[in-house]
Symmetry: C2
Subunit: 241 residues, 2 copies
């Protein structure tokens, strides 16, 4: 809950008084033709109404009615490794923070202290994603916009998360391992080639597409800036306004 | 982030206009002695200024400066089983919700979907509490007041959580297993007697007190209503104001 500070109310008092007293003085002058009366009324009004306005504002600040919160939502970004999920999530978070909205970004790095290291079998990955879904939903319930960027290749766990959340938007960064390799700065695919990483979606495990994914962006054709703008447009029209 | 709705601004416009136009009309009458001029100025002002006031309010609503958020904090309630932690947490959450503040209550039930079932050795309990601490700190960073009610008997993990959080207040419900038994509605201590539950703080494991616990409430003498009032007073003077 946000509350107005005293100085905010004071500054509002001044800006309003300039607008209002000018109006009154002009009106009195137009009606009476007497510039001195107009100025006298204006001056007295200046003092009396600044006090009244300040008290009126402080009183209203205690009334919560009509203060509306921007609805929270969960933006779930999914796709094979190195498809640009985390970078895109960071870009969108930055945009939303400019609007002074509360945003929590969740990716495998952020949730590591919360959820013990997990394996890469289908069951382990599904359980991990479901736990992240519970966390995202808890944040959403508390009014926090949540951006999750996880490979999350299995339909089962993504559907589970969708059901947990109130406002869930799934964005699939659709690309191929060949294109993803170009954006691989950490040698991930090298380790795949060497056989160190197994069960890699897009390589030796299928990435399961979902019919109800809200946005599938063809990342073999789009760049991240275009993807960001497309998603921001959706978010703005749906939630922020 | 909260924003004023259009209807809120409209209602503010009306309440302010009644206050302000009455002032102007009286002032013009006092200066000119002419009741008809006073009413004419008043009427024209009524219309012109309602429009200006509305626009002034909508403009200010876009300015975030001076909108202050109530600071979030983590209230950590600790104590042996059946000392009243969860009930007290629920009572405090209710009080805070009345003030339209965002509050998340975390107890072992709430975090079960997030953190896989954990054991009761010292190390397992410490790890579990540390994970809860990470969650509480994430919520706090996002402006959510967090009330955690966990036995959390070990100094090590409570100190760890304290360091993670910005505003951390620890409340120890200090009681004995004899007194706690009276509030045991789920047969917890019966299972302890039967040897089903082991490593129970206050019974066969020491509850480790902390020197820097903010409030130690002697629950052999106080009831929960008194405890609630004491803690609410602290919270109000420290954070809510």
């Amino acid at each position: 809950m946000y509350r107005d500070s005293n100085t905010r109310t004071l500054l509002k008092t001044v800006t309003w008084r300039i607008t209002a007293t000018a109006t009154t003085t002009i009106l009195v002058f137009l009606f009476t033709g007497a510039i001195d009366t107009a100025i006298q009324v204006g001056l007295l009004e200046l003092l009396a109404k600044m006090l009244f306005y300040y008290l009126h504002e402080r009183g209203w600040d205690k009334i919560k009615w009509g203060k509306e919160e921007v609805p929270a939502f969960v933006l779930w970004i999914t796709g094979i490794p190195c498809s640009g999920k985390t970078t895109l999530a960071t870009m969108i978070k930055e945009e939303l923070s400019k609007e002074k909205l509360r945003v929590q970004h969740l990716d495998s790095h952020d949730v590591r202290p919360l959820f013990p290291e997990t394996g890469f079998t289908r069951e382990e990955v599904n359980n991990h994603i479901k736990r992240v879904g519970h966390l995202a939903s808890m944040l959403e319930k508390n009014g926090i916009i949540t951006i999750a960027s996880f490979v999350s290749p299995y339909r089962e766990s993504r559907t589970f998360v969708r059901k947990l959340c109130q406002n869930y938007v799934e964005v699939h960064l659709d690309t191929t391992a060949e294109v993803a390799r170009r954006y691989d700065h950490n040698g991930f695919y090298k380790k795949v080639d060497e056989g160190i990483y197994k069960n890699v979606p897009g390589v030796d495990v299928e990435y399961e597409i979902c019919e109800n994914t809200e946005y599938t962006l063809d990342m073999t054709e789009k760049n991240l800036e275009e993807a960001k703008q497309e998603i921001m447009q959706v978010i703005k029209s749906r939630y922020i306004k």
